[in-house]
């Protein structure tokens, strides 16, 4: 078997990332001195409050924004522009409302011969559990189903890196849990390198091999928390809750003290 042809999961190295914005004439430092190394096939969760620059960081890796300092490399190759090796999923599912599910997926597949495109589309539709909805228009789908299409659209290009920007932020709690299960199942079969940006502690711990905690002004990574728990994880187990509390304490020191009094 020729392993070089198979899309293997790459290492992502971000070193000394800095990003500044101009807002109303004054300069805002969004990111400064941000360092992360993501191992091949690792699932990294990045958690932070709103406005900490976590989405900006993800968009830099995607090539949608440029960084002012530092560099991002994927297997040693610097990121300069968007590319199909990285699949990004946005919080809004961003489907094209005038296309059916099938045609939304076909739209994403540009550099592939027709027969293979058809096979790949059928594959991802099966993978995300949307068989029977190929001809549906986005407005006919529920929020969870629309996000499944968005996942399918990312996967159809077989990216080596998955960048997930609060993908389930707009879903209700039950659908969200269901989608997290689906995502894990897909990741376990595809084994790409994943970076998930979220503000949901439970989601970050449940999905990630590691959780990077970001603090803001300027955005940088404060610390990493290893989630050394076997999958499938039990959200109610003491070990899981302990990791959660550890992360919770990074954001709310007072609240943590209260929790400990209760126990």
């Amino acid at each position: 078997m020729n392993t070089q042809l198979a899309p293997s999961a790459p290492t992502i190295v971000a070193a000394g990332i800095g990003k500044r914005f101009n807002s109303n004439g004054s300069q805002v430092v969004a990111l400064q001195g941000l360092d992360v190394t993501v191992q091949p096939g690792e699932f990294l969760s990045i958690i932070g409050g709103s406005g900490c620059g976590k989405s900006t960081f993800l968009r830099i890796i995607a090539g949608l924004e440029t960084n002012d300092d530092g560099s991002v490399t994927i297997d040693g190759v610097p990121v300069r522009r968007p590319g199909l090796d990285r699949g990004i999923m946005f919080q809004d599912c961003r489907l094209l409302p005038w296309f059916t599910v099938e045609r939304n997926l076909a739209f994403a597949l540009t550099h592939v011969p027709k027969d293979e495109a058809r096979a790949r589309i059928a594959d991802v539709i099966r993978l995300v559990g949307l068989v029977g909805f190929e001809k549906a228009y986005p407005h006919q789908l529920s929020g969870g189903m629309a996000q499944r299409v968005a996942i399918a659209r990312v996967l159809v290009n077989k990216p080596r890196v998955l960048l997930l920007d609060e993908p389930f932020g707009a879903l209700d709690a039950l659908t969200k849990i269901q989608m997290q299960e689906e995502l894990l199942r897909i990741w376990e079969s595809e084994r790409s390198t994943v970076i998930l940006v979220t503000h949901d502690i439970d989601e970050a711990v449940y999905l990630g091999d590691r959780v990077a905690i970001m603090s803001n002004r300027p955005g940088h990574i404060k610390r990493f928390v290893e989630v050394d728990l076997a999958r499938p994880r039990d959200r109610t187990s003491p070990a899981f809750v302990a990791v959660r509390r550890q992360i919770f304490g990074e954001f709310f020191t007072v609240a943590e003290a209260q929790v400990e009094y209760q126990i």
Partner: protein, 264 residues
Amino acid sequence: MSARTTRRFIVRGFRGAALPLALLAFWTLALSRGWANRQLLPSPWTVLQTVRHSLADAWFWTGLGHSLARMATGFLIASTIGLLFGVLLGASRWGARLAGPGFHAFRQVAPFAWIPLISAWFGVGESTKVAFITLAAFPAMVINAIEGVQAVTRQHRELARVLEISRWRFITGVIVPTAMPQIFTGIHLTLVVAWLATVGAEYFLQIGPGVAGILIEGRALVRMDLVLFGIAVIGLVGFALNLTVRHLEALVLRWRPANTSEAS
């Protein structure tokens, strides 16, 4: 279909007739009470007789045919030029900078102001009328095409970038569908204006056969029944054009949720 939904269906179909029926009642009342001069306001019955005579007259049908052909020509030219020009202005920053101000100044000029110039250039034939219709109708298409193209969101532009979509696929898969609802509004308005301009051109240029010929003859003979018939024909043609475009729109834009395509 239950009796109740059938009844609702009938009510919905005919409630639009309420205003014309009320007007008809008032018209009859005004005549029977002697509020109006019969020379200036003929009775509904007289108008009905005129309708019957005119519909049996080949002159009427030739006129209508000429008017529709004229309008269709003007509309096709106006919408094609308007669409191309509008997409150019909407999609390219330099196009908008160079041609935008000139166009917006141009559309402030009332179409009738161009009549002397157009008739001097095109003579007194069919082409003058078509030129007038085109000139009057195309700005509506331009404005809507510009707005339609500019409705493409930053989110969809980003999507195209991350998916490495080619320029051509971006135009056909994103820009055109995004602009389509607005382009349809443009087609709608262009058609309305083209029909108004057709009647206007026929009335003011007074050459060749056309529906406005009914109005001209009615005025010359002081036959208001003929004038009323002419007005009704013009109104009905406009109504039919409207209906056609709306059905076409519903067909093309069926990807939209039902509540937005059913509005109006």
